[in-house]
């Protein structure tokens, strides 16, 4: 397979699909966060994606990097709390690497790795702390492993699968960071809402490339 990301990945479609998945699952995200956090994660993420859509609509040249940058700034500028802006950091790093290298698997891998590093610098969470890092780190690893050979479609599908594995793992963990850390064993059995958000993010990308790939030869 020699498909390039340019053929199969549209950042605009990715973000729009992410926004749709967040809207469709907002109630479930809220219910999850009511169990382990302060209950605002669903609305936080929905506010971020809604703000991102508004910015996408007003872009004059919606190339991939510009779309990701617009979404990043929406999350960073307009959303309170911490998890929304942390998604902004991930989007910002993706925008930066896609801008310099185009939407290749290698650029996606580098962008996600940079975003993960930024999020860890800012929030201080390590894998195993029951945060969104537990879904993002395996997704970054899957992209890194794929970046030499796999086309972006395949690499993003792998990243989504790895992210969901990480999400399921968070259900077993006891939180050491974030709001749920105050709950001790009461948060056990519940997956981390931020990690679920990361799962939705990569699943949305995987969905876009799966839909498009067969039609683009």
């Amino acid at each position: 397979m020699t498909t390039t990301a340019r053929d199969t990945l549209s950042a605009d479609a990715w973000i729009r699909r992410f926004a749709a998945s967040v809207r469709a699952t907002e109630a479930q995200l809220t219910a999850l966060d009511q169990k382990v956090g302060d209950g605002d994660f669903g609305s936080n993420l929905a506010a971020g994606t809604t703000a991102a859509l508004a910015r996408l609509d007003s872009l004059s040249s919606p190339d991939d990097a510009a779309c990701l940058e617009a979404a990043a700034n929406a999350f960073l500028d307009e959303i309170g709390g911490t998890s929304g802006p942390l998604f902004g950091l991930l989007l910002q790093s993706l925008a930066a690497t896609l801008k310099s290298s185009g939407a290749t698997t290698a650029a996606l891998a580098e962008g996600v790795a940079d975003g993960l590093a930024a999020i860890r610098r800012v929030g201080g969470a390590a894998p195993g702390d029951k945060t969104l890092v537990d879904a993002l780190a395996p997704a970054a690893e899957a992209l890194r492993a794929a970046s030499g050979t796999a086309p972006p479609a395949r690499a993003l599908a792998d990243a989504a699968e790895s992210a969901w594995r990480g999400v399921r793992e968070t259900a077993r963990l006891r939180a050491r960071m974030g709001r749920s850390s105050y709950l001790g064993e009461r948060a056990e059995g519940v997956p981390d809402p931020g990690a679920v958000g990361v799962g939705l993010f990569f699943a949305s990308a995987g969905g876009v490339v799966r839909d498009l790939a067969p039609h683009l030869g």
Binding site: L76, E78, T82, P85, L86, Q92, R121, G123, G124
Partner: protein
Amino acid sequence: MASYFENGSDALVPDALQGFALAHADLVTLDPGHGFLLARDTAPARRVALLSGGGAGHEPMHAGYVGRGMLDAACPGRVFASPHNRQIYEASLAAARPGGVLHIVKNYTGDRINFGIAAERLAHRGVPCARVLVDDDLASDSGEVATGRRGTGGTVLVEKILGAAADAGAGLDDLQRLGSRLAARCRTLAVASAAHTSPTLGEPAFRLGPDEIEYGVGIHGERARRTAEKGPLGPLVERMTGELLAALAPEPGCTLLTLVNGLGAVTPLELYAVHGELVRVLGAHGLAPARCLVGDYATALDMRGFSLTLLVAEPSDLAHYDAPVHTAALRW
């Protein structure tokens, strides 16, 4: 309990910023959209901008320290809440100098995260940015607290000295190192005999008996880990100072800076009595303040309490401390 004078709780901070900017128009300009204050002029030789911020309710911190010889910009959040990363980011862009911008951050989780996000955004814009984390509060010095010591009153001394060093042309790395060294040699301990008035409820945030004090409060009205018996001032200051000295272990004859800081509702009469006791206790340990500050510098709304800060300085720090400063709350 009296409630606050305000046009509604959401209006108080923006109203106060507006009023502050009008009162000190010679020193600062206000960006009302993003909610930060920018110094009108700091030393032309300054290569790096100094920026601080944190919750409102600590007045004169942070706005009161914007001006010549101290901060280039300050971003106050809502009462006791971190500023938004956008506020910090926009203020940093507005204040940044060719050598970049130094964030002086008090160690509270929200502040760390929001300043951290702003720093990541600045890095993407190619603006050099570094951070000094002030974590002087001895009461939160515990292995059980993963978040580390809180940042409180010592911030004022750190900002003053860094301001003079920045005026002298120090670069970002040097300022970051200097700030970290100062923070490491600075400890604060605070007590309160009555809580602040909660802005949302208009009632005391917690209640104490007439013979009780909270020993080891922060600056957000947090209760201390323990409630102690009140007793007379002398033994209280002795105990507090003893704990600070045990933590810092200063050599006799060292350059010691002290701050006796009111938390909002303690009278100057009392604060000077505290200072007298502090000097007496230090003297008994063979120590004397090289410089001292007494007054309300980092408050917690109307909390009835005070904090003691000791900073063990180098002689070069003393020269920076003595350098001229002209801000709303600190000038010499």
